[in-house]
Structures are given as structure tokens and as C-alpha cells.
């Protein structure tokens, strides 16, 4: 059937995906670098803004106040990252669909109030209080999805209404006192304030990503080779794994000079890894990207679009509820202030700064993790400088605006470079 294409016959011994002579194959280390530069130029920025941002932030703040890079300050920073980072993880799910949830802050506040009221005031077991908070989150997410799917209400409006309504509910169930203290000695509060991993566990865990990368990499290479497809060069695989392991081990070593790696941060990382697997390796994740990229095309491919929206909104609100539980444990209280202020915007900004597009169809679970580290680093640095919240709000607002501008410009560039 390829009579008209003699070149294909000549290339028979080449890998299945390497027979078109027009495409430049970026093999080896120089090739990998070149394709990275090309990707960035065409607007496929990936994690680059985060990396640059983190370096700039570290330099600026450590010049202004050397305490910023002290191990124990970084440990504190990771504690703070965990609560909002989990909200941000939920935001990633809805942003991938091209939707938004503006009520994650209120949802987390409500969930923290539920913990205080059910656990401390009503004396129920803490597990039941946690369960109730999570179920509330799931139900509210389902409500948003229902309003979107059945009534065609834009998620922007539905969740804006939710922002106010949930805040009201939080104030209502907290009652006139407005604040409930959680018992300091309880495991939940210790988890949010002091529990860190023993050194051997944190060092062991830091080895895992590199190991898994190499193992999976070898398995994939073997399968691709036997299927006559091109394979990633071994040097790149091993180089990446080595670089990853060295940087993680160094980070862990440095944090262990202080109090160590918080378990709560470990929970955030675990959730990020699970969500990353779900988004990249399952049919559900593929459908999320498809619906975010072209809703009608996804529908015509037989994807149940409504169910995808339902799952994403439910996941987002449930994660927000979990974030609220953690913030209650971090502050050892359920208060009227929980989830208010800049929590909402920080969660959204983190996802966008990390590289998840506001326009849907692009992003990753890791963007929540990296983005929240940037956001918390800024807020932590500003606190160290004794700047009050008025300035903090203005600066965070400006950072969000910059992140959105970068996102829009990158999208425009991608469109003109055919990378959508």
C-alpha cells in the first residue's frame, strides 16, 4: 500500500515512529536540551516559571533577611504549604476542565468549623467529625456540578455564590463565640504542628522517586523496544533520576538540620503523586484533559461529560474540606477567620503559577505543589520582614496577576506555534 512512498520501504529497519524523515529527533543530551529550548520558545513553559520564581525569591529574601533560608524556617514553610496546597490540588482538577471554584477558601473554613463543632463542642470521635467534613465537601461539589450540568450555571457564578453561602454557614455553626480551641495534645493538632518524619524515613522516601523512575523507565524501554518503537536514551533516564535523587536527598538533609520533614507535607506530596497518576495514567484523567480541551469533541467520543464535571467538582470540594481540617489542626482552632482572607486566591494562584492553564486542558498535579511553595515562600518572606498583611495582599495579588499574564501570553504563543 506504500507504492507511492519508496522512502518508507528504505526505512523498514527503523523504529515505527522514526520513519518520517522530516522530523528532527532530539536524541542524547544536546538533543534533549534543544527540544527543551524549543518547547519553551513555543510557549510550552511547563515548570520553568516556578523554578525561576523560586530562585529569585530565595535570593531576594535571604539578602533581606538571612533567617529566610534557615532550616527551621523552611520546615515551617512546608507546614504552611500543606494546608493551602491541598486546596490548590483541587483547583487543578477544575482548572483542567476550564472551570473554576472560587469557594475553596470558604469550604475549608466551613470544614474547619465542622471539626470544632462536632469534635470539641459535641464530643463526637474525631474520625466522625473528619468524615462529616469530607462528606459535606463532596456534597457541595456535587451541588456545583448539578447546577452546572442541569441548569447551565457557569461555575464562576455558582461558586461565587457558594463562597458567600458557605462563609455564612461557617459563621452560623460556629455560633456567637466565633472560635473553638482544639485540644493541644490530640494527634490531629500534633499532626498539624509538630509531627515530623524520623530521619531514616525521610531519607528513604527521598530515594523512592528516583528508584521508581528508573524501574518504570526500564520496563517501558523494554516494551517499546519489543514493539519496535523508539526509546528514550539511557543516559537521559539515568541522568534525570540521579539529579532528582541528589536534589531530594539534599533537601531532606537540609531540613533534617532543623526539625525535619513534616508528616503533613508528606501527606500533600502523597496526594499530589496519586492525583498525578490519576490524571496521566487513567482513562478518567485522559477524559479530564479531553473535556478541558474540546468539550464537544470529548462528548462525541463517547465520554460522559457530565460525569467528568461531577467528579472534578466533587474532588475539588472534598480536597478543600481536607485542607480545612488540616488548617484547623495547624492553628489548633476553628475560627471565623479560617479560610477567609487570601486563602482562596492563594490556592488559585498556586495552581496557575505552577503552570496549570486557566483556559483548560493543560496542567499537572505537580503545579499545585510547586506553586504553593512559591506562594508560601513569598508570604513567609514578607512576614519575616515584618510587613503587615496590607502589603502582603498587594504583593500576592500582583504575583497572581503576573502568573495569569504569563499564562495568557504562553497560550497565545502556543496557538501560533501549533501546540494548543
Amino acid at each position: 500500500m506504500n507504492r507511492n512512498m519508496p522512502k518508507d520501504v528504505a526505512n523498514k529497519d527503523q523504529a515505527l515512529d522514526r520513519r518520517d524523515e522530516r522530523i528532527r529527533h532530539d536524541d542524547g543530551l544536546p538533543g534533549a536540551l534543544r527540544s527543551f529550548v524549543n518547547r519553551v520558545r513555543s510557549g510550552d513553559l511547563g515548570m520553568l516559571p516556578v523554578a525561576v520564581g523560586l530562585i529569585v525569591i530565595s535570593i531576594v529574601f535571604s539578602i533581606l533577611n538571612p533567617v529566610f533560608l534557615a532550616p527551621n524556617n523552611l520546615v515551617n514553610l512546608l507546614f504552611d504549604c500543606a494546608t493551602v496546597g491541598i486546596l490548590s490540588l483541587g483547583i487543578v482538577c477544575v482548572l483542567l476542565l476550564g472551570e473554576i471554584d472560587l469557594s475553596v477558601g470558604s469550604m475549608s473554613g466551613l470544614s474547619s468549623a465542622i471539626i470544632g463543632v462536632l469534635w470539641v463542642n459535641s464530643g463526637l470521635p474525631v474520625v466522625i467529625a473528619i468524615f462529616a467534613a469530607l462528606v459535606t465537601g463532596a456534597l457541595i461539589g456535587a451541588l456545583y456540578a448539578l447546577m452546572y450540568n442541569r441548569l447551565g450555571m457557569p461555575s464562576f457564578v455558582a461558586t461565587l455564590a457558594g463562597l458567600l453561602a458557605l462563609l455564612g454557614l461557617q459563621l452560623y455553626i460556629l455560633g456567637p463565640t466565633g472560635s473553638i480551641n482544639l485540644p493541644y495534645a490530640s494527634p490531629l493538632v500534633r499532626f498539624g504542628q509538630i509531627l515530623v518524619m524520623p530521619d531514616w524515613i525521610s531519607h528513604g522516601l527521598a530515594l523512592m522517586p528516583g528508584l521508581v523512575m528508573v524501574m518504570v523507565g526500564f520496563a517501558v524501554r523494554k516494551r517499546r523496544r519489543s514493539a519496535n518503537l523508539s526509546t528514550q536514551p539511557l543516559t537521559i533516564l539515568l541522568g534525570k533520576a540521579a539529579a532528582l535523587t541528589v536534589s531530594l536527598e539534599f533537601a531532606v538533609y537540609y531540613l533534617n538540620l532543623g526539625r525535619g520533614v513534616p508528616w503533613m507535607f508528606g501527606l500533600l506530596v502523597a496526594l499530589v503523586i496519586v492525583l498525578n497518576y490519576a490524571l496521566t495514567k487513567t482513562q478518567w484523567g485522559r477524559s479530564i484533559f479531553a473535556v478541558g480541551g474540546n468539550r464537544e469533541a470529548a462528548r462525541r467520543s463517547g465520554i460522559n461529560v457530565r460525569r467528568i464535571y461531577l467528579s472534578a467538582f466533587m474532588l475539588c470540594s472534598t480536597l478543600a474540606a481536607l485542607g480545612g481540617i488540616l488548617s484547623a489542626s495547624r492553628l489548633a482552632s476553628s475560627s471565623q477567620q479560617a479560610g477567609t482572607g487570601d486563602v482562596n486566591l492563594n490556592a488559585i494562584a498556586a495552581a496557575v503559577i505552577g503552570g496549570t492553564s486557566l483556559f483548560g486542558g493543560r496542567g499537572s498535579a505537580y503545579s499545585a505543589l510547586l506553586g504553593i511553595i512559591v506562594i508560601q515562600a513569598i508570604s513567609n518572606g514578607l512576614t519575616l520582614l515584618n510587613l503587615n498583611s496590607s502589603l502582603r495582599y498587594m504583593i500576592t495579588g500582583a504575583v497572581l496577576a503576573i502568573a495569569v499574564i504569563v499564562d495568557s501570553l504562553a497560550r497565545r504563543s502556543r496557538l501560533s506555534h501549533g501546540r494548543a
Binding site: 522530523i23 482513562q283 467520543s301
Partner: protein, 272 residues
């Protein structure tokens, strides 16, 4: 207006039968009282002017639109095609005029969208191998199946959309202007492909404005005009007859143009 067709051992039982299908978009009646039958091992060409309702009819069969009234029988059973997934389940595959691909996903992801291999741990290697095989069958010129579809040319995208329709072993394939953006070799491959699937006993509905392509593969030519059935022809019907039926008048812009160019010789030799 003849109903008989070329002898073919595998044909005979109707796969799809539409009776009295109508579709209104608000005040516009895009389709009125359409009847259509497709048998296994048969290629039916659907022709008509722009806006005649061809794509609307295809979309009803694909489950994208619901008919306002009428009856659809699939393999002898009355069915309601209330969603695209229902149509795909029954074995009705469609290549849409607007292609309906996700630009942010790569070629492999688009081919398998909604029907990925091993849903809980996607088998990318198997999917990629199958993608290359399918694309080779269509003589596709696609440099890499791991680039986002946004980076492909119009014809390459069309090939991807056609390849996708073959993936699920359908009983009937509907192609809405499949060759509109294709090169010479690729058009020939698509026509070959249509003949191959016909010989495998599948039903094919093809929409095209290219009468040469239509004549080359169709067993029957069904004409729609302003949303109504306007005649059924054999592929050897004369151009004049077809054009008259499509435009609704023997005296039309096409005939006038021909007359002008041939000096009133009434040329229609290409038909036979």
C-alpha cells in the same frame, strides 16, 4: 431513480433504516420527512447543496442531535440514539465535518479517546503501535503521533479522524466530507479504504461534493435538497440529472456555466 445495485454476495440485510426523520432548529426545519436505508456491504453517497441538511442527518445518526420526529431502526430493531456513546456502542462510527478532535491531546490520545486500552493503567505502548498500524493503512503522512493535534495540517487531522472511526470495529461508518482536505494519494487511500470496508460487509455513508469520488465508490446516490429527499440515483446517472436534482432545476447555474463554456453543446459526457 433506480434502487438496484451491483451484485455483491455479502449484502442484503439492512443495517440502518430511517423513516420520516425530521429535525427542527427553532424555526428552521433542517430536515423534513427523510427516509434512508443502508444495507451491509453497501456504500451510500449523500449529496446536496450547502445547507441541504446532510451533516444534520449524520449528526442525528451519531447521537449528537436528537430527531424532532421519525423512526430509526438499527439491524431491524428500533433504537433511540440519545447520546454519542450509545451510537458508538451500537457500532455507528462517524467522521464529522468539523472533525471533533482535542487539539491539546496527541494523536494517540485522540485516536483512543473514550476507549483507551486498560483504563486504570493506560497501555501507551499498545495504543501507539495500533495507532501507527491504522495510520499506515491510510497512507498517512504524520511525522509523530506524540505531538499535539494542534500541530497537524488540515489533511493530517482528517486522516486522524478517519483512523479513529475505524478503531472500534463498527458496523457502519459515516464520513462527512472525508476527502475535502486530503492530497491525491490520501484521497485514493480513503476511497480504497471505503471499498475495503464495504467488502468486509460494513455499511458506509459518505458525504461529498466531489461527484467523481462519489461515482467512484457509491452503490447508490441519495440526494437531499432543502432538507427533503430529492431522489435516488445509480452511480452511472448522468451529471445533468444529478445536478438538476441537487439544485432543483434543469436550468441552473451549473448548466448555464457549462453551456457558456461549450457553446451550447450541452456537455455531459463525463457521466458515462
Amino acid at each position: 431513480m433506480v434502487q438496484e445495485h451491483r451484485a455483491n454476495p455479502e449484502k442484503g440485510n439492512p443495517i440502518l433504516r430511517l423513516t420520516g426523520i425530521s429535525k427542527n432548529f427553532g424555526a428552521v426545519s433542517a430536515l423534513t420527512d427523510i427516509d434512508l436505508e443502508v444495507q451491509s456491504g453497501e456504500v451510500v453517497a449523500l449529496v446536496g447543496d450547502n445547507g441541504a441538511g446532510k451533516s444534520t442527518l449524520i449528526k442525528i445518526l451519531a447521537g449528537v442531535h436528537q430527531p424532532s420526529s421519525g423512526r430509526i431502526e438499527f439491524c431491524g430493531q428500533p433504537v433511540s440514539l440519545d447520546s454519542p456513546s450509545r451510537a458508538l456502542e451500537l457500532g455507528i462510527a462517524t467522521v464529522f465535518q468539523d472533525l471533533a478532535l482535542c487539539e491539546n491531546l496527541d494523536v494517540v490520545a485522540n485516536l483512543f479517546l473514550g476507549h483507551e486500552l486498560s483504563p486504570w493503567n493506560l497501555d501507551e505502548v499498545a495504543m501507539e503501535v495500533r495507532a501507527w498500524t491504522l495510520l499506515k493503512e491510510l497512507a498517512a503522512r504524520i511525522p509523530s503521533v506524540r505531538e499535539p493535534v494542534a500541530s497537524l495540517s488540515g489533511g493530517q487531522r482528517q486522516t486522524v479522524a478517519i483512523a479513529r472511526s475505524l478503531l472500534l470495529d463498527p458496523k457502519i461508518i459515516m464520513l462527512d466530507e472525508p476527502t475535502a482536505a486530503l492530497g491525491v494519494a490520501q484521497t485514493a487511500e480513503v476511497l480504497n479504504l471505503i471499498e475495503r470496508v464495504r467488502d468486509r460487509g460494513l455499511g458506509v455513508i459518505i458525504i461529498s461534493h466531489n461527484m467523481e469520488d462519489v461515482r467512484a465508490v457509491a452503490d447508490r446516490i441519495v440526494v437531499l435538497r432543502l432538507g427533503r429527499n430529492n431522489g435516488v440515483f445509480r452511480p452511472d446517472a448522468s451529471n445533468q440529472e444529478l445536478v438538476a436534482s441537487i439544485t432543483g432545476a434543469t436550468e441552473n447555474s451549473v448548466s448555464r456555466r457549462l453551456d457558456r463554456r461549450t457553446g451550447h453543446n450541452g456537455l455531459n459526457g463525463s457521466a458515462t
